[in-house]
């Protein structure tokens, strides 16, 4: 599991399940929370998707604008907690 794979997985999930536009353009640095494209409930869906697809638990209080507003930030968060899980 590398960063590009995580970004691709998240992008597919968000486009298909949350935005309902499988072919929509979604850049890695495009804001999702601050732009209002995803809300708190969608964030919970993303978090559960990350658990099932990548086997990584990201704590709820990390899922905020500062850490998880874009695909790139979300991927970094997943990688950080994947590394934490590995050291536990």
């Amino acid at each position: 599991m590398n960063r590009a794979e995580i970004i691709d997985g998240l992008r597919d999930f968000i486009r298909t399940e949350l935005l309902g536009e499988p072919d929509a353009e979604l850049g890695v640095d495009e804001p999702l929370i601050t732009s209002g494209r995803i809300d708190s409930f969608s964030i919970a869906q993303v978090a559960v998707f990350v658990e099932t697809a990548f086997g990584v638990y990201v704590p709820d209080n990390e899922l905020v604008v500062d850490n998880a507003d874009t695909l790139a930030q979300m991927a970094d968060l997943v990688l950080r907690y994947a590394a934490d899980d590995a050291t536990d």
Partner: protein
Amino acid sequence: MHITTFEFLFYWLLVLVVYYFLPRRAQNVLLLAASVLFYGTWSWRFVGVLAILTMANFFWARLLRKGQARIPWRLWLGIGGNVGTLVVFKYADFYVPELLQLLGGGATLEWVLKIVLPVGLSYRILENISYLVDVYRGQIPASRNLVDFGLFSFYALKLLSGPIERARSFLNRLAEPRLVDNDVIARSFTLLVIGAFRKLVIADTLAGVIPPLMFESPSAYGSWELVMGLLIYGFMLYNNFAGYTDMMRGLSGFFGLPLSSNFFCPFFSRNMTEIWTRWHTTLGLWLRDYIYLPLSRAFLRRNPNPRRWANVVVPPMAAMLVSGLWHGLSWNLVCWGALIGFFLVISRLPSLWRPLMPPDRQPMWRQLLGMGAVAVAMAFSLVLFIMDFNTAADFYERLFFWTKWVTPPPLAVFGVALSLGLDICQYVRRDEVIFLRWPRWLQAVLLAAALLAIFLATRLKPAEPFIYQGF
């Protein structure tokens, strides 16, 4: 020592002067001592209660993990201990009379009646719970510095009514060198003046025009008067609480300890979710992180269908019921929480069938409609927030007995216009200290006008209490 007094200002100015001469570690000790002394001016009993609570959480957090292993029952016991403390003190009004009646009263139980809610305890409980959960999850290590943890607990500028800070960021700030440069000073001073203006000029003016008995005997008023009274109360509550928060954030900035923002133009919220990012933000975030998201995730794990009723209804309802109970143990507050939860569920429904349309991309008419709908929903629920259940029922009933239009008092129009004007300035550039970007001459004129208004407002009548201190 009350916040809107010169004693308060001089006290913290004195502390600030000494603070700048001390090394960082000693600065934390000074702030802790100053905060304890300040809290002691309210009641030394409060200090005792909070000290015990602080020590208990400090030591308990260190027992939550054994190496890398988590010990769940210890976390639940820690949370239970904090909630229990809140129940004992905050809900004494509710259970003590019942208890006395049950046990036949008598002098032996008189001491129970002396239980008084320590000011700010509700806020401390939420901070303690988030601290224990974060330590348990391994996001932060348990603090080993009793002075820093004591300051997290007692810090006077957030103790009375928030903002609700997270140990994770606050303890880190305490461990870092303080940066107080010209930009920080300008920003902090601006926040302080805006806060004092909101509280002493806008909120206190609005408080003066609400008929004193309107929310006790609504049947004596016509529907328009009640609608206006409710709107004025909404603006008063906002400026009262936001003013307090800005003052504390401004003052704390001078100590190099920025506090979280708690309000940002809530009346411009375009949906029910957005308002919780603009009104009492730190409470909204706490509820989201420790109630709403864990529940949503738990339900989604069991059944990932986002349209399943339990996934849609239970998490927001649970979060808002907790919010209602946190504000107080009464049926009207439980119903207030349930009503807000209901509004959140309703506002969520359209997005189950079509993707969310970002508010910024909506046409202006739809944004304005959304703002109006949110304002009506919040005003409607506010009735349950400020009145007991029977009075609220009377209030709602009177609302539908249409009476002729009544012209609002000029002072109310003036106060609401000032509040909206201030918000518009901040909202347009999404900057709470937008005034710092304005020309110097204009800043000088505004500052002089604001200080004069604050001076006159405090001379004309004594300052009203901070409403949220009651929680």
